[in-house]
């Protein structure tokens, strides 16, 4: 009996799905579910079964009935929609060149999009991301990085100091970090090489704002320490990064520079993202734009975090994440990035 029920279901479903008109459908309904329909008759026969088998077969019969009813209902809907559409097309032409109706989806900030891209690139090289404090001790931001108090290098990073009244902290010792390099020290002092880290984050400077300067902006830096990390590795990693980020055709060149926490130090320039190096207003007609700084970690910095500078060496580099964003999208003003104008935000 169960087999018959299933057969009825199968044949009903396949016939119903093939039905193309409402009339055929009604006919099929009668044929299976009508007063003397095949299923109806079969159900009547259940009473003839031994009593212990009845509930199980009964349930099956109910399922079959529901399946057939559902299939008919669905098919009816489809047939109706189809005929509506056909008559619709006949009645009115639709202009397929009109814009589509878009779902309401927002936009991620360009900084976020660039940041996630940068993280992805460095993840491939085995880097992990660190995140840490912006309210920072002078020690982590400067001293441990070989920039003692009253060092002229501090001129480049004018500092915002926190109000220390009502606290036990000595004035002048707590600042808003001027660079993400504080995290070099924080991570290194709590771990051992090999290390590959990147640190994105907000930094603060006592600086008047203009198109290319801000008192708040985003940096991003990397650090690699092992027994055998060399200056050519630093160049190779930076080259890899700019090619992945700005495109394979991007060229990079280096100049010597001075940072107190690296020796030797370098600055990296990339071929202009606007004119591809031909020279334009964006690159002041030089064909190159300044993109990053870095160097081999100064032995003193390693010693400050108790890493043996004979055994281990490494590099550190950094760049303005805000700058990468403006370079990527050819934006001429850093302040656009902190402006919540939807006319800007919805472009990305």
């Amino acid at each position: 009996m169960e087999e018959e029920l299933i057969q009825i279901k199968n044949s009903a479903v396949s016939l119903i799905l093939e039905a193309e008109g409402l009339k055929t459908l009604e006919h099929l309904r009668l044929q299976f579910l009508g007063r003397s329909g095949r299923l109806t008759l079969e159900i009547k026969d259940i009473a003839k079964l031994p009593i212990e088998k009845r509930p199980e077969v009964g349930r099956l019969a109910n399922e079959v009935k529901k399946a057939i009813e559902d299939t008919i209902a669905n098919q009816e809907l489809r047939i109706r929609q189809l005929t509506d559409q056909e008559s619709g097309i006949k009645k009115q032409k639709i202009d397929v060149t009109a814009p589509g109706i878009r779902p309401n989806i927002g936009h991620l900030h360009p900084m976020t999009q660039v940041l996630y891209e940068v993280i992805d690139i460095f993840k491939l090289l085995g880097f992990q991301v660190a995140d840490g404090p912006e309210i920072e001790a002078d020690y982590y931001n400067f001293e441990a990085l070989n920039i003692p108090k009253y060092h002229p290098a501090r001129d480049v990073q004018q500092t915002l100091y926190l109000d220390t009244r009502k606290s036990k902290v000595a004035p002048g010792e707590t600042i808003l970090r001027t660079q993400t390099s504080n995290m070099q020290i924080r991570v290194m002092e709590k771990s051992t090489p090999p290390l590959r880290i990147i640190v994105p984050g907000k930094v603060f400077r006592y600086e008047q704002t203009d198109a290319s300067h801000g008192f708040e902006f985003w940096q991003f830096e990397g650090l690699m320490v092992d027994t055998n990390i060399t200056f050519t590795d630093l160049q190779g990693v930076l080259d890899y990064f700019v090619k992945k980020f700005f495109g394979e055709e991007t060229r990079i060149k280096f100049t010597s520079h001075n940072f107190p926490f690296t020796e030797p130090s370098l600055e990296g320039y990339i071929s202009c993202t606007v004119c591809k190096g031909k020279g334009c207003r964006f690159c002041k007609f030089s064909g190159w734009v300044e993109a990053l700084g870095g160097g081999m970690i100064h032995p003193k910095v390693l010693e400050n975090v108790k890493i043996d500078s004979f055994k281990y060496q490494g590099f550190a580099f950094g760049t303005g994440l805000s700058r990468l964003v403006t370079l990527r999208y050819q934006m001429d003003d850093l302040r656009l990035l902190t402006n919540p104008d939807l006319r800007i935000l919805t472009q990305f």
Partner: protein, 646 residues
């Protein structure tokens, strides 16, 4: 106030070195070796270079220093002139100098009598103008000229104004009044280095000379001195006074301690030449030690270890020679015998260098390695990808950005656009939002009143963003995930990520639903109701994102699909509006473990219709079973909430 700029005329540089490169090539090459050429301008028949000098190189704040770099890149010799001072048998203008070597590491001086003050010659005036200075008169012009030529600051006093013919160097107590040569008055900061004669303060050392002892048109006799001032004390005083001078910029970086005699001789020669007169004292030279060039060894194995390439020994010594570092190859030892260095390398010669006193930035091996590398040319290095193992341990301060991305994407797909706003906000905005400023962290030296306090919430900036966008947009949905700064003072300061959003297109339940979905996605059990605030024109919400992700649970486990069909029924209940829907739903759910889902299907006046799913994972349900549970539900709802079936 940020970086030091040095102007250098090509004609002046040519006094010291032959220049074969074109100005453009020269600028590019100098930039490559670290002397950033910012601008090259043509002035009359001359070329002026504008350089940005890094803080480690006091020597480059001079024409001679720049000429030395040019000599090094062109592999040429510097044309050094030497000057001698002839000391007379009879000293007519002696002076008593009372040194303090902690303040002046070196103090070199001389008296010259019977000079005449007049304008300096035209050629000198022209050169001073080209480097941005204003010519004044011969003696003052000479001190400026020689400072910029040789990179060591010097000062001229009117000898007859030095009371008691004596000078004492000491530190200010703080608060003393001082009037500088340019007739400005200052209250001296504590510990500033000052020079006193027998009666008064006559010099704010390293920063500005005093009016009372300065050169005037009537000066007949001068005392010229070259001092090496303590860099930290000079910097502290000049920061305290907000007063930077060309001299203080050099002093801060650490001046050439071996260069005072040469500087004094050059200045004396120019004074005698342009102002006449006669040397009238011995050459005073008070110093704690000899300040001789020092030795520093460079290991070729270390060079290779750091740089990653082998530079031939001959090339290395060639570079060191061009920088006047006098390289001498000391020994050839086997690296394995050297216990200090673990790297085994055949190339392990040691090159001993002698560091001239004007290169006080060269202190360790790595400094010499940098010298070799920069002149070798950074762009001649191959680019390599690091070898070695990828670290497997999770680092301290690790942040999983995938979570943040998840959260942001949910808001984005719900229609919100992301903003980044400033962490620093104004007192006005805080107060308007109902905050007390004493409860908020503050910056001591804000760039302006607009950016004085660290935001304790993202809502203030979001409300401003909403108002800013109103004129241009009907529908506004903005969110930000950023840090806020909590605590009343630094001891309590805490940085926390908040996630906040504002909308005028979504109602309470839509916002609640978005947050429920967000919490679910992050595996949080939290309910979002308390974080949502209804405004006049829309909805704003703010959640403590850091708190949510602390309890994050991303583990998911597959539950196999049910083998037995569910029984689904809709139950319409009439209950007072005072009864919360959540309470009713929770109560229904509690009545049996086979109720797998309860949801609110419809609500009309006092009737709420619930959609209830009964399902057993191991067997089919009978209508009798379900009927039993249903009556249990109705009984409980009646008892607890006086709710009736409709």
């Amino acid at each position: 106030m940020t970086l030091s700029i040095m102007l250098a005329p090509l004609s002046w540089l040519k006094d010291y070195v032959d220049i074969t490169l074109s100005p453009k090539q020269l600028g590019e090459r100098l930039t490559e070796v670290g002397l950033a050429t910012e601008k090259i301008t043509k002035v009359d028949s001359d070329i002026i270079f504008e350089f940005e000098i890094t803080p480690n190189r006091p020597d480059l704040l001079s024409i001679l220093g720049i000429a030395r770099e040019i000599a090094a890149i062109q592999n040429k010799k510097i044309n050094l002139k030497s000057y001698e001072i002839k000391i007379p048998k009879k000293t007519t203008l002696p002076i008593k100098l009372n040194p303090n070597h902690k303040l002046f590491h070196r103090w070199t001086g001389i008296s010259i009598e019977n000079i005449s003050i007049k304008p300096s010659p035209q050629w000198m005036q022209n050169r001073l103008i080209k480097i941005g200075l204003r010519p004044i008169s011969n003696i003052i012009d000479i001190t400026n000229y020689v400072m910029f030529e040789l990179g060591v600051p010097l000062h001229a006093f009117d000898y007859d104004e030095i009371k008691g013919r004596q000078m004492t160097v000491e530190q200010a107590i703080g608060g003393e009044k001082f009037t500088s040569v340019d007739q400005k008055s200052y209250h001296l900061p504590k510990d500033a280095i000052i020079i006193k004669d027998s009666e008064r303060i006559i010099d704010l050392a390293g920063i500005k000379g005093g009016l009372n002892s300065g050169i005037s048109d009537d000066t007949k006799n001068v005392f010229l001195h070259v001092t090496i001032d303590d860099p930290i004390l000079i910097r502290r005083a000049s920061i305290a006074l907000s007063l930077r001078s060309d001299a203080s910029a050099i002093y801060e970086r650490g001046t050439d301690k071996g260069g005072t005699l040469k500087t004094l001789a050059r200045a004396t020669q120019l004074v005698l030449e342009m102002a006449g007169g006669r040397v009238a004292s011995e050459v005073y030279d008070l110093k704690k030690e000899a300040f001789k060039p020092w030795k520093l060894n460079l290991r070729l194995s270390r060079l290779k270890q750091i740089l990653g390439i082998t530079i031939p020994e001959k090339k290395v010594t060639g570079i060191l020679n061009s920088l006047n570092l006098s390289p001498v190859i000391l020994s050839k030892r086997s690296a394995s015998k050297d216990p200090m260095r673990s790297f085994a390398n055949a190339q392990d010669d040691i090159i001993e260098c002698t560091i001239p006193t004007y290169r006080n930035d060269i202190k360790i091996d790595e400094d010499l390695i940098e010298e070799v590398a920069r002149l070798y040319g950074y762009n001649n290095f191959p680019k390599t990808i690091p070898l070695g193992q990828i670290p497997t341990k999770q680092i301290p301060y690790f942040k999983d950005y995938r979570l943040e991305e998840k959260a942001k994407n949910i808001l984005k797909s719900s229609g919100f656009s992301e903003s980044y706003t400033y962490s620093l906000i104004s007192e006005k905005d805080l107060v308007e939002a109902g905050w007390k400023t004493e409860n908020v962290l503050r910056v001591d030296n804000p760039v302006s009143r607009e950016f004085e306090y660290l935001r304790p919430t993202l809502k203030i900036n979001l409300l401003k963003a909403y108002l800013q966008n109103k004129p241009n947009f009907k529908d506004i949905n903005i969110f930000e995930l950023g840090k806020v700064y909590l605590g009343k003072n630094i001891d309590e300061a805490k940085e926390v990520y908040f996630l906040s959003g504002i909308t005028n297109t979504k109602n309470f339940f839509e916002v609640k639903g978005i947050l429920e979905r967000l919490f679910e996605e992050l595996g949080s059990k939290e309910g979002p109701t308390e974080f949502i605030e209804i405004l006049n024109e829309g909805i704003i919400f703010e959640i403590n994102y850091s708190e949510i992700i602390k309890k994050v649970n991303l583990q998911k486990k597959f539950i196999s699909l049910p083998k037995y069909p569910p029984i689904i029924e809709d139950l319409a209940i009439v209950a007072s509006g005072k009864v919360n829907t959540k309470e009713l739903m929770d109560e229904i759910k509690k009545q049996s473990s086979i109720i797998t889902d309860v949801s609110l299907l419809d609500q009309f006046e006092e009737t709420r219709t619930f959609h209830i799913m009964y399902q057993h994972k191991d067997r089919n349900l009978t209508t009798e079973e379900v009927a039993k549970i249903r009556s249990k539900i109705l009984k409980v709802l009646k008892e607890k909430f006086n709710a009736m079936p409709k």
